[in-house]
Symmetry: C2
Subunit: 135 residues, 2 copies
Amino acid sequence: MNNVRTSKKRDAMLALLRSTHCHPGADRVYRELKLQYPDLSLGTVYRNLNHLCQRGLIRRVGTVDGQERYDGVITPHSHFICDRCGAILDLPEHSPGRDWLEDVGVQYGFQAEGCEFIVRGVCRDCVGAQAEADP
Amino acid sequence: MNNVRTSKKRDAMLALLRSTHCHPGADRVYRELKLQYPDLSLGTVYRNLNHLCQRGLIRRVGTVDGQERYDGVITPHSHFICDRCGAILDLPEHSPGRDWLEDVGVQYGFQAEGCEFIVRGVCRDCVGAQAEADP
DNA sequence: TTATTTATCAGTAATCATTCCTATTAAGCA
DNA sequence: TGCTTAATAGGAATGATTACTGATAAATAA
């Protein structure tokens, strides 16, 4: 007796998120898997994204242009978000010393579940496009 | 000739954001200033929040329960976000060494505009509430 | 001060991401 | 093979944010 059943569509979502580095949003996941599963519903995509997050199999990266973005790679690493085109890049891990997190946790009385470091700016492609436009 | 005029409501919004540590969202700003300016419009709140962000006078902190949250204190510091009640706390600054940011910037070709470190978990009040519920 | 220009605003409609609802399907187990 | 119920499709509902339009008021000059 297990209260979580296997689901081909959910498995496909997890596989898709694990195989890409573009940190897609719900709409992107929906459109890509719709090709393989023509009867896929957008509600199913959202439900399974939440389901996978709750089980810790994927992570929310942040919202870009009002859309939540997801990451199937859950090993510790940082992210760069391009404010121009919305691209999200993986960066090497940057976390504070465990002592820093413990210190502020004790000082402020919170229980830390996780932490992330996010860099914002303009990505390589957008910098290049700007350079071409401004001679 | 200046293309930015002073506005009592915009000034009041900036003053409110600078005077509080709760990192309010648009709705909170609207409800608080509605007391002082009964004819305040929600559209004005959103327009001015974007306006102040573009001028670098306030910062977006992140979305909590689907609502964008804002910070009027723009000196470098980190944030803690409570996944239970949505509270956002200010933490001391924690940034990587400038060399780290420059190194990854060169490596990945991006121009960094800013970076932030976010800790998520359960805040002191919610930990206490949980302790009371579970004897 | 008065006139002119136009940034700002109130009010409301529209947009869009996300969630909720209900009947239906199918995964796991006996 | 049935039974139970998690998972689903489809669509309606929600809610934050934006867009639109006519009115208002801040800066500047006459």
